[in-house]
Amino acid sequence: MSAETESVLHFEAVDLLQTRSADSALREVELRVGPGELALIQVRRGLLEIPLGDAVCGMMRPDKGVVRFDGLDWTAMSPREAQRKRHDIGRFHGDAPWISNLNIDENILLGECHHTRRDEAEILAEALALAARFGLEEITSKRPHLISQRLSAVYQLVRAFLGKPKLIYLERPMRGVVSEFSEVLIELLGEYRAEGGAVVWISSEQDVLDSTALNATSRYAVEPPHLRAQENTRA
């Protein structure tokens, strides 16, 4: 089996230069995450949004190199195929996580209802089960601006896990929230990885970076313009 089919996500010598700030441009990015693996990427506090997330989802065309998801080059996919593939990525967004004119429950169910024919009650039951793991009894029907940052983070995690995507991309999920649910998150990630899911976790929080419970397969650090593999990782 080739490396492309073994990897869920593979960046091959990728340059990402079209960023809002020149400080966050990246060059020669090499990153490979296979099924059941977790890549932990350290970013320093204060660094503006790095363009990795958009490249992972095929929303940003690399200036050089190839980004493959599930063995396929994003640039070689048709728009509809790319849309279907994006549904296989659960993403925790660092910024603008919700559609403001939809309620939180509608926001959470949106992707799954759009791309699948699963019964809505079944999707909601799955979402409720995930929320229950974080200690929530319900999924609110409030508008996003009416909930706390803590609840917003939990609901984003519920959305990221919903429908068992092939890859979960977490963009600083612990930023600005009490880390009371980090244990649950790590536990959920463990179960998810055991079923073959791949994870990319971007973090600047020291307790996350130091965590051994996370059992990261590979560790990287963003030192613009490079993404450097750290010691004891295989990349």
Binding site: S100, N101, G111
Partner: protein, 274 residues
């Protein structure tokens, strides 16, 4: 920053050149909007473009535009009926030209004012709401958020809005015409003006309506609303990254949409008489 129509590739243009550049810019916008309308035609016939999420947006749009604007449209229809139908009825009867009541009302209310007034009401009410909503979503990164979840903004945001507004405007126009004709006749009766028998009035109006009028009303309803709603959606999704782009997008969209409404209505009227 993109060059203004007055500047091209770093050199200043003459006034004639500026006019030409401006015209080309407007033409490019028009082509873009025509392309979007064409793509929407393709999409609306494809079942896969209508998942339940898109159907939900369509239902909300019909509720907001069709049901939400009904009371105001009916009030407007009542006032138009009282002021135009009543007066037409009155003066034609006094002039002994009762047989012209039907043809004149069909020409003025059915073919002319009905579609135009309903389109204006909906443009002011829903067009402005759509452009502001989509521009806010664009500026706030919500359109990108949809894309990262694999939702196509054209399918999820534009298609149901354009189709929902179009359906609503067509239905509201039919209601508008019926209410204005009946309210005018009722006003004449109420004010004890020589309104004639209700059957005679109905006969006069109904016999003046030809099948071409139904096509014409549909064309005058559907074509302008397709254009104006598409213009509003495109302007909203083309807003830049700053909050100050939102009112600019709304202003630009509404001026262009009003121009498109009157130009398309006038063009259809001229074509119908050829």
């Amino acid at each position: 920053m993109s060059p203004t129509p007055g500047q091209s590739a770093g050199r200043r243009l003459s006034p004639v050149g500026r006019l030409g550049a401006l015209t080309l810019d407007k033409f490019a916008d028009l082509l873009h909007e025509a392309g979007v309308v064409g793509r929407l035609f393709q999409l609306c016939l494809q079942p896969r473009a209508w998942p339940r999420t898109t159907r939900n947006v369509l239902a909300r749009q019909v509720f907001f535009t069709g049901i939400g604007a009904m009371r105001f449209s009916m009030l407007l229809a009542f006032l138009v009926g009282v002021s135009i139908v009543f007066q037409t009825n009155l003066w034609l009867k006094q002039a002994g030209q009762e047989e012209l009541v039907g043809p004149i009302l069909v020409a003025v209310v059915v073919r002319g004012m009905g579609p135009l007034l309903v389109n204006i009401v909906i443009l002011v009410r829903s067009g402005s709401a759509i452009v502001t909503e989509l521009a806010t979503m664009t500026v706030g990164g919500e359109v990108k958020l949809l894309e990262t979840q694999g939702l196509d903004p054209l399918e999820y945001l534009v298609l149901p809005r354009v189709i929902g507004v179009t359906l609503s405007v067509w239905c509201l126009t039919v209601f508008f015409i019926v209410v204005s004709l009946f309210s005018g006749y009722a006003a004449a009766l109420g004010l004890q003006v020589n309104a004639g028998a209700s059957t005679a009035f109905l006969d006069s109006v109904l016999s003046a309506i030809r099948w071409q009028d139904i096509l014409l009303v549909t064309a005058k309803t559907v074509v302008p609303v397709l254009l104006t709603t598409t213009i509003c959606c495109v302007a909203g999704l083309s807003a830049g990254a700053a909050r100050t782009d939102i009112p600019q997008a709304a202003t630009r969209a509404l001026s262009r949409a009003i121009a498109a409404l009157f130009i398309s209505t006038a063009s259809i009227t001229i074509i119908s008489y050829l």
